[in-house]
Amino acid sequence: MEPKHLHFDYRDRIVPKTKVGAHFQRDVEVRGEGGSEFVIIARQSAINPIDFSIILAVVPQDSYVRFRLRRYNGKAHPHRNHLEGGPRFYDFHIHMATERYQLSGDDEDTFAEPTDRFGSFDRALECFVDDCGVILPTDMARAVRLFE
């Protein structure tokens, strides 16, 4: 995945703090090493802290479409991958964009897999950083490893 350098304390900038209705939200625009424009969309319920969503979306050149590549969801709703006909699951899960769901007319990131890698917003954010090509400032990366 295209590297995305963050030149700031990502926890302060990505953790949603603006309250809208019953949730907190934050959108952060990030430019990739190859020039692509990305946006990190973070949401967290003000009522249920494990109801959250951390999304990596790419904004294609000359457009304002937010194409969702990955979405890290909390445990607050069931999910079923209807094309695969799999069982419904109720767990923390990760969505990812797939061609087959787009071709079937569904949202690009309809496919999702349950995960035991995170059980909180903070841990999901660390997984997001690890998976999505996010490169932290050197001191920050060292601090995150020590924290783990």
């Binding site: 019953a22 003000a46 457009s63 479409v65 969702r68 069931p78 079923r80 109720y90 569904d106």
Partner: protein
């Protein structure tokens, strides 16, 4: 198959799709087969509070809508009115972004309450589309009014077509901004998929005819356009604005720049 057997089988299968997960004292997660367009199920909790057993979404529905929509759009205007109508129809109330249906307080049986709550959530998720359809009729007028207000007198020609290359007007341009001494700007207002395709064809037609021009598309809401239609237009159009409402400064600036650059 006998109707009795059919009925039994149907009830059994529907019943299996509804499940409760115990999540603490007097609190249950309700799992149903009803889902958003991205496959995620609705967020429903049944819990006992001061008013008795209550269905709540704990704010999940509006949060989910906010992935692709500015949550502030749900707070006022047409969408707000439609949401309030939906909630009222199903006995659901909103508490600062949380949707709730207090079954005991309303004297509603749990099963009936769940059906009402599910219908309300699904209608709320549809409301964005419905409200956009409702206001669509004003979009083209808004576009024309905006261009009139920002283009110098006599420079903008609306519903234009080239009298020589397209005498029958098969390839219309919503607005041709005259660029004396430089290529004109062809502007297209895009309220939906069909117009998106028509604009694509018109741009390609004039390109192939060898006409020199620049092009621009303004969408009523780019997020609602079919991906394939949008991809085709993106390949040929010069500049795009995802919506008129959210890009008025940039759009005005672009018109201004073009007018200056192409001033006679």
């Amino acid at each position: 198959m006998e109707s009795r057997v059919l009925t039994s089988e149907l009830k059994s299968q529907i019943g299996q799709e509804i499940d409760l997960v115990h999540e603490g004292v007097d609190r249950f997660r309700v799992l149903t087969p009803f889902r958003f367009t991205d496959g995620d199920g609705l967020g429903i909790v049944l819990k006992r509070d001061t008013s008795g057993w209550t269905f709540t979404d704990e704010g999940h529905t509006f949060m989910h809508l906010s992935y692709a929509l500015d949550a502030r759009d749900l707070q006022d205007g047409n969408r707000r009115q439609i949401i309030e109508g939906v909630l009222s129809s199903f006995g659901v109330t909103e508490r600062n972004g949380e949707l709730v249906l207090p079954t005991d307080a309303l004297g509603v049986r749990l099963g009936d309450g769940l059906f009402s709550f599910v219908q309300a959530l699904l209608h709320v998720t549809d409301v964005n589309y419905l409200s956009r359809e409702r206001v669509r009729s004003t979009f083209l007028e808004d576009f024309k009014s905006f261009v009139r207000g920002h283009a110098p007198e006599g420079r903008a020609s609306f519903d234009w077509h080239d009298a020589t290359l397209d005498p029958d007007g098969h390839y219309p341009v919503d607005c041709r901004l005259n660029g004396a001494g430089a290529p004109p700007l062809f502007m297209f207002a895009i309220p939906g998929d069909e117009k998106c395709s028509v604009a694509t064809i018109a741009i390609m037609y004039y390109e192939r005819a060898g006409l020199a021009f620049e092009s621009l598309a303004v969408f009523e809401d780019m997020a609602r356009i079919n991906r394939k239609a949008l991809a085709r237009l993106t390949d040929v159009v010069g500049k795009q604005f995802s919506s008129l409402a959210g890009n008025q400064d940039r759009f005005a600036g672009f018109i201004g720049d073009h007018v200056v650059l192409t001033a006679p």
